[in-house]
């Protein structure tokens, strides 16, 4: 696990998202003033969830409309059935920092 800077604290409005070009990519969401980090790639298709539609604390995948809970990564609506991996977030002064899981050994990512 290693911390990286995602953005500055005032970069996103509520309901906005940002894709980090990590491998695999991670998405940062802002919900009710709080930041959350999840794997960016939908567990059903290959779409970016940062491109999805955010409604409250849910994000809907842009391709096939699976919905996930942004806070927990849980699947709320098919066609996805596998939850999203979540990542720790902390605010460091003006910076939003994300703890990226080191997944070199587990290629599946679904740990």
């Amino acid at each position: 696990m290693h911390w990286i800077r995602a953005c500055s604290v005032d970069e996103l409005d509520d309901g906005d998202a940002l894709q980090l070009s990590t491998v695999p990519p991670v998405a940062i969401f802002k919900v009710d003033g709080e930041y959350y980090a999840l794997d960016d790639t939908c567990t059903h298709g290959q779409s970016s969830l940062a491109d999805g539609y955010v409604d409250g604390d849910q994000v809907e995948c842009a391709w096939h409309f699976a919905k996930f809970d942004i806070k927990s990564g849980a699947v709320l609506t098919p066609p996805a059935s596998i939850p999203l991996c979540t990542h720790k977030v902390r605010i460091d002064g003006e910076d939003v920092m994300v703890a990226i899981r080191d997944r070199a050994q587990s290629a599946s990512g679904a740990t």
């Binding site: 309901g15 779409s47 491109d51 539609y53 842009a62 096939h64 409309f65 066609p79 059935s81």
Partner: protein, 415 residues
């Protein structure tokens, strides 16, 4: 006397059929639920069939749900069994194995069969269509053995197969009777972007031409002859010229059909009580459609199946979401939401090119439909603008600097 729990039989282990079964259980239906399908595989997703190549063992098929989901929910999956007869008077379904399944409630999700070319030489084994896993496996073998491949019909299946074949380095010519591809789904502007996208990848098009004859040996068609007189060499021919509804079971049971499908009401009910039809075989009303029609898209089938399942479980449900289709081509996703009507005004967002574009069809001051490539962020917003019938300005839609997501959220806070 305690009434017996009702039994339900779903004919078709498709997106619609499986969704109906799952939703029935989710809605608290406690009677028996049986899914019958002649296809022997665990129910699988069909969209990937035209988007990749398959081996012969079927191991790459994408299951709709894992086996445990069916056993956990008490859904009796009878794959590899063909439903032969729907016996309305006795409320049962008879299968090819001679089995008789009690069926107080029936869901017909019998789907469609590929339309075939009606020309001389078209029954050769290398003239292929694509609807199911077996078709995909046969087609993959031919594509892997090299070209030239002739694809008849520039619809979703034709264009996706062209993309897959080009990605495998196979020579591809697409023959289309209309002047442009996807003629029923997008207008000429979007179509021209798609033609350019495919041409850049080396696909050849013959537009406005039909196939008149296939010639070759008894074992293989080798030349495709066209209405403009030219002949194309082919090692295999993929025919993607639409589909016909599987109506035999319904018709023989007296279920009301028309030539295009099984006619249902807003809840998926046929003329016969407790007999429903779901998915692409159903002819139904939808706010995006000018008249009741089939809707041949995965998303619509899942939603319709789920709605029918919910209705059977006691919560009458009608599909209200806009019609949605996507198509994967060369790593990009074409998305179409809503339905284009002939009188719509077309607006193209500035900066469009064959690799990325967004177009809208304006109807009565609101968006009737939209199509985009590499524009999934916007499509998600447009789906909501269509279903909420939000008034729009063509100028704002054309301006690529206008963030649609902000405009929908601000209009929501105003109303």
């Amino acid at each position: 006397m305690i009434p017996r729990e009702p039994s339900c039989t779903i004919v078709g282990a498709s997106a619609a059929g499986v969704s109906a079964a799952i939703e029935m259980r989710r809605g608290g239906f406690t009677g028996s639920v049986v899914i019958v399908d002649s296809d022997p595989h665990l129910p699988y997703e069909r969209p990937p069939l035209s988007k990749t190549l398959f081996g012969s063992a079927g191991q790459e098929l994408v299951p709709i749900y894992p086996t445990e989901t069916y056993s956990d929910l008490g859904i009796d999956l009878r794959v590899g069994q063909r439903a032969l007869e729907l016996d309305i008077a006795n409320r049962r379904v008879r299968t090819g194995d001679g089995e008789v399944i009690p069926s107080d409630i029936v869901v017909l999700a019998t789907g469609l069969a590929a339309r075939r070319l009606d020309v001389a030489g078209s029954v050769a084994p290398n003239v292929l269509t694509l609807r199911d896993a077996a078709d995909a496996q046969a087609l993959s073998l031919f594509v892997k053995s090299g070209g030239p491949l002739v694809i008849v019909g520039a619809g979703f299946i034709g264009l996706e197969m062209a993309s897959v074949a080009r990605e495998h380095g196979v020579d591809v010519t697409v023959v289309e009777a209309s002047p442009y591809p996807l003629s029923h789904s997008v207008g000429p502007v979007v179509a021209s972007f798609l033609i350019d996208l495919h041409r850049e990848q080396g696909v050849k098009f013959v537009l406005g031409a039909t196939v008149t004859e296939l010639t070759g040996t008894a074992h293989a068609a080798e030349q495709v002859w066209l209405s403009d007189g030219q002949g194309l060499d082919a090692s295999a021919i993929v025919v993607g010229v639409g589909a016909e509804p599987n109506l035999e079971l319904a018709r023989n049971a007296g279920v009301h059909t028309d030539p295009t499908g099984i006619v249902v009401d807003h809840l998926g009910q046929t003329n016969i009580p407790n007999v429903f039809a779901a998915g692409d075989v159903a002819v139904r009303e939808h706010s995006d459609l000018l008249r009741p029609s089939r809707i041949e898209h995965w998303d619509s089938s899942v939603r319709h199946g789920s709605a029918v399942g919910a209705t059977i479980a006691g919560s009458p449900t009608t599909v209200s979401e806009p019609i949605y289709a996507w198509s994967d081509q060369y790593g990009s996703t074409l998305q179409i939401v809503g339905r284009v009507h002939p009188t719509d005004q077309f607006v193209l967002r500035d900066g469009a090119n064959p690799a990325q574009f967004l177009g809208y069809w304006i109807r009565d001051g609101r968006i009737g439909a939209a199509a985009g490539l590499g524009a999934s962020r916007e499509i998600a917003v447009l789906k909501r603008m269509i279903s909420q019938k939000l008034p729009v300005s063509p100028e704002e839609l054309r301006d690529r600097d206008v963030d649609l997501r902000r405009s929908i959220k601000s209009s929501r806070s105003v109303t």
